[in-house]
């Protein structure tokens, strides 16, 4: 199972006038099982857009993203969503938690629409939250949590269904060093178990295992290091 990104370009129209911005330009990359990929680059270099395209959330303006056998640009919303539901765990950059649900409900909420055994997922979610240092926060609401704890809850939500591809957009941006270490360790553990992990970060991350590093600048890949630490 793999995700192939072939020469993708994403253009956004500005709100005012007829100007267009190329967020990503002609980027290609392959993501295979049990791999660790780091997409680095300064703020505004197109990391989030690239990750959104890899996850099939937005379609590229040019080029193609192939989610195993699903071609994003020509496939229906149904098949792309199905792939995302089954195989992708996406951790967005923004804090996206529902304020009127507690943390456990937030972690389990997206699975309402999926044919997954809720009882088992609930146990998994509690286990994951304990692992992430939030064992006593399951009944807390997001406003009672710090930024870092909210991010951990979002990570738990992405990992609860054990996806084959984990796409994390700045997963440790609001965490202290210890928590960052825990998160990276958890991601590496999933990689060891066969998941493909793609992480975007504007800072260098200290993975303990080799990873492919793509450096983005102004939407282009300016540097690529295979198996770099």
């Amino acid at each position: 199972m793999s995700i192939k990104v072939i020469e993708v370009t994403k253009t956004f129209a500005r709100q005012t006038g007829n100007e267009y911005v190329e967020a990503v330009r002609g980027v290609s990359l392959d993501i295979n099982e049990a791999s660790l990929t780091l997409v680095s680059g300064p703020t505004g270099s197109g990391k989030t857009t690239l990750l959104s395209m890899i996850a099939g959330i937005i379609k590229p303006t040019e080029g193609e993203v192939v989610l195993n056998t699903v071609h994003v640009t020509v496939s229906s919303d149904r098949s792309v969503s199905f792939f995302r539901e089954r195989f992708i765990g996406y951790i967005p950059q923004e804090i996206l938690l529902l304020h009127d649900l507690n943390i456990l409900e937030n972690v389990l909420f997206p699975n309402v629409f999926h044919k997954k055994p809720m009882k088992q997922l609930k146990q998994w979610a509690i286990g994951l939250l304990e692992r992430l240092g939030l064992p006593d926060k399951t009944t807390c609401f997001p406003f009672e949590l710090s930024g870092g704890e909210k991010r951990k809850a979002m990570i738990a939500r992405a990992l609860v269904a054990s996806p084959s591809f984990i796409i994390a957009d700045e997963p440790v941006s609001e965490l202290d060093q210890e928590s960052s270490g825990e998160i990276l360790e958890l991601l590496e553990e999933h990689k060891k178990n066969g998941a493909a992990v793609v992480v975007a970060s504007h800072t260098s991350l200290s993975f303990s295992m080799p990873c492919d590093i793509y450096h983005l600048d102004h939407g282009r890949i300016v540097d690529y290091r295979k198996g770099g630490l």
């Binding site: 959104s52 996850a55 959330i57 937005i58 919303d77 149904r78 969503s81 199905f82 792939f83 995302r84 539901e85 089954r86 195989f87 992708i88 996406y90 967005p92 923004e94 996206l96 529902l98 009127d100 649900l101 507690n102 456990l104 409900e105 389990l108 909420f109 997206p110 699975n111 309402v112 629409f113 999926h114 044919k115 055994p117 809720m118 009882k119 609930k122 146990q123 998994w124 509690i126 286990g127 994951l128 939250l129 304990e130 692992r131 064992p135 006593d136 926060k137 399951t138 009944t139 939500r157 269904a161 054990s162 996806p163 084959s164 553990e189 999933h190 178990n193 066969g194 998941a195």
Partner: protein, 216 residues
């Protein structure tokens, strides 16, 4: 799917394992879960639910009065009141079409974050629309039924004095009344659900990127 069972401690008897009854009904089918979500959303999103309810309440009242006057008030003396009912109803329907547009936008706007989360987790647009349809269906059904009950009460207690409305209310006439009520409820629910769904699906199609980024 990747199995990492060994790495995740499972503690089903953890103190935090109790949920408040929201969504986590293990054993439900997907449709059951969507239904449950729609019902809980009615409670969670009170403002938009109330607005849909009021709209259904008002439209059903005016439509019911028109249907009643057409069916029961066939005497020339009532022509003026019939004209009034028609005018009020047509105005309400035109207004409600406009208000439904605004409500659909509000519906989507208050759920932007929620829908964004669901979309990034692989929930299909059709499932989101199903959930929205069920939610609007229940609210408009409640609104329409309440509106009809309200009209019947108003006439029975002579707030509006319509002496012939329930005079000689024999079995066939009662059946007719029930039929008119059913038709009205059906019309209101169909109007609200279909029109809102068309608008929501159009808005959803053009705004996926915004939804995903979770902008308020």
């Amino acid at each position: 799917m990747v199995e990492v069972t060994g790495s995740n401690p499972v503690s089903p008897k953890s103190p935090g394992s109790t949920c408040r009854g929201f969504i986590l009904q293990a054993g439900f089918s997907v449709f059951g879960n969507i239904l449950w979500l729609a019902l809980t959303n009615i409670r969670r999103k009170r403002v938009s639910s109330l607005l849909y309810f009021i709209l259904a309440f008002v439209i059903s009242q005016s439509l019911f009065l028109v249907s009643l006057s057409t069916a029961f008030l066939r005497i020339p003396e009532f022509n003026n009141i019939k004209k009034l009912f028609y005018t009020v109803t047509i105005t309400f329907i035109i207004l409600s079409v406009l208000i439904l547009g605004v409500l659909s936008y509000l519906f989507l706007n208050t759920r932007r974050k929620e829908l964004g989360i669901l979309r990034i987790c692989g929930v299909r647009k059709s499932d989101l629309l199903m959930s929205a349809a069920l939610e609007i269906f229940f609210i408009s059904l409640a609104g329409a039924v309440s509106g009809i009950i309200c009209v019947v009460c108003i006439v029975l207690f002579k707030v509006i004095y319509l002496p012939l409305f329930f005079q000689n209310l024999t079995y066939p006439r009662l059946l007719m009344l029930v039929g008119i009520s059913g038709q009205t409820v059906f019309a209101v629910v169909i109007l609200e659900v279909t029109y809102s769904l068309i608008l929501i699906s159009l808005l959803l199609r053009n705004d996926i990127n915004g939804l995903v980024r979770g902008s308020p």
